[in-house]
Amino acid sequence: MRLTLVGVSHRQAPVELRERVAVDAAGATALARELADGCEAVVLSTCNRTELYLASGGPSDHLDERASGTLLALAGADGAALAPVLYRLGDDSAALHLFRVAAGLDSLVPGEGEILGQVRDAFEGGSTGPLLDRLFRQALHAGRRARVETAIGESPASVPAAAAALAQQVFGDLAGRRILLVGAGKMSELTARNLRSRGAVIEAVANRTEAHGEELAARVESRSVGLDEIPALLATADVVVTSTSAPGFVIDPETASAALRGRRGRPLLFVDLAVPRDVDPALATIDGCFVYDVDDLEAVVEASLAGRRVEAVRAEQLVAVEAERFREWQASLSVVPAIASLRAHAEEIRSGELAKAEGRLGRLPESERKLVESVTSQIVAKILHLPTVRMKEAAAGAEGVVYADVVRHLFGLEEEEQS
């Protein structure tokens, strides 16, 4: 069977081209059905890539042309610009590529977690047969292994995610933790959303401009308050995210000290996303206070990404092992017909000889007849076991086809198939 991949990704094509060929989940399913005319087809479409995976048993099928033509047709007037950036991969290369994609090794941020789910969705929406079914199952397995056996997906890759991860390092489970937003900046909102996705509650949005504060408060399901309420809110908040455009410190030790006394030792994390900074770094010297400014967070992200790159090397090794296993399986397909013929031939001989001896066996009790059946079947199975294993092993190398031909010749399987 032959496997073909034609696709376009963020590595070669700008977003203007990628968006021309992007399809949603329903579109991908429909497109896979349309392509699967006499072959297997899966369409993987994300914001970073659109890839068509096709597989067929016949070498005469023009899978490349069919897939390329489909993508160029999707691009419409931009087809001429798309053609040079399309990539075409076959068999081993296509499989390795999909395994790398599933492991997040081909993503913008190495190890990002969403892609594995997107590969699963594409697989479930595809029109799969034996080859693509095996390919995608093994790709999902490779993706999971990469995430479980390496730390490629563990560290945050953005400032908001780093802020949320730091909050988890202090408080553990963020469910029910209270967040105070000071300022209504974009980064502050992104951080708030990240914290909310982990169960935290936005207690209030404190902003100098009331209208902006109310807008953000509505978006994060909170309430808007004035900056003068900050000292009181510090007594109950767990995380304070600041992003005002104030020229000086909005929160200093004097502002915070009274509130901190009422906290009974509970820790307080300040995430200062503003430049110039909103939180006086001297607060970090107070017991239980942790202060991170935007430079600190970027340094954490950079260290995380460096860690991901190190882990990516290990993930590449895992993926290569999985790709090799798939290659061996795919190669074994070339000897499967010969093995099936050999087993059918042996079974034919066994049952024929038993039929010839029917006259003598007929006098045996039923239990003994069954015993004879069982023993002869076991003899055949044991004789054929080693040749079967050896043929599958040989199939992983170049000599698999030769072995299959030799078996056909030795046992006269070709003549049987022809007759």
């Binding site: 730390a151 563990e154 988890q168 408080f171 906290r263 030792g265 017991d287 239980g288 954490v300």
Partner: protein, 257 residues
């Protein structure tokens, strides 16, 4: 033959210590290897203790080396119950090398043999067992407190590797160390009460005084936590100060008296 069980226990604990050290650079696989080392080693040591108990006429851990053997088993047992997960691998890295060193010392002192003829009564055996269990728990609480202080320092200093080399959250470490100290204090209190049963006025000595001081330090610490909100760094420091006394009283119990 049963005394040979000390070797699989030592080997498994040693493997756990090495695996935990390896997990600092590697992934969860090393930490899992460490956990299996702890489990297998603890089972081997449990079998050794059972063999010692069956072969003894009385309390087989009455000597300092025997007590050390039992103490190691209790510390590792407490670690197994409270902290034996990949996230607590740093605690394992602190506990397991210590367990190996102490078990080697117990073996060298003859505390892992199975032919003890110690005939201590059951009351004394219960007293020693409870005291050792209490101290083992306090050792684990100190380990958690140490981990808290280390992680707090990293967060205060804004260490960029804080999300790469992850340990349990500060809040969890704080709560877990307090809970461990509370349970250990309960066990220690029970041990003291049992010990009072065979106490004569003239018996009062330095180890007893230090034991009472330990009990007082932990009791005051836990009361302050409950009433005044003593937590975080200050509570961790108090636990370590209490442990410094434990580290003194254990040797005193067996060498000075």
């Amino acid at each position: 033959m049963a005394e040979l069980l000390v070797w699989p226990a030592l080997l498994a604990y040693g493997e756990a210590a090495v695996a935990y050290a390896g997990s600092l650079r590697g992934t969860g696989a090393s930490a899992r290897l460490g956990i299996w080392g702890v489990r297998i080693g603890w089972l081997a040591q449990t079998a050794l203790l059972i063999a010692q108990a069956l072969d003894s006429d009385g309390f087989p851990w009455g000597t300092w080396a025997g007590a050390l053997n039992l103490f190691v088993w209790l510390v590792v047992g407490a670690y197994l119950i409270w902290g034996c997960t990949p996230r607590y691998r740093l605690l394992g890295l602190a506990v397991m090398p210590l367990a190996v060193a102490l078990l080697v010392a117990a073996w060298a002192g003859g505390g892992t043999g199975v032919s003890s003829r110690d005939t201590a009564g059951w009351l004394l055996a219960l007293h020693v067992g409870l005291m050792l269990a209490g101290f083992a728990g306090l050792t684990l609480a100190a380990g958690l407190a140490g981990l808290y202080l280390w992680q707090e320092r990293r967060l205060k200093q804004r260490d960029t590797s804080v999300l790469r080399l992850r340990v349990p959250p500060l809040d969890s470490l704080d709560r877990l160390s307090a809970r461990t100290a509370l349970i250990s204090l309960g066990v220690l209190s029970a041990g003291i009460v049992v010990g009072l049963g065979s106490f004569d006025q003239g018996d009062f000595d330095v180890p007893m005084a230090v034991t009472l001081a330990i009990w007082a330090v932990y009791t005051v610490g836990l009361l302050l936590r409950r009433e005044k909100g003593l937590r975080g760094r200050r509570f961790a420091v108090l636990l370590l100060a209490g442990f410094a006394l434990v580290a003194i009283v254990l040797p005193l119990t067996h060498f000075a008296s």
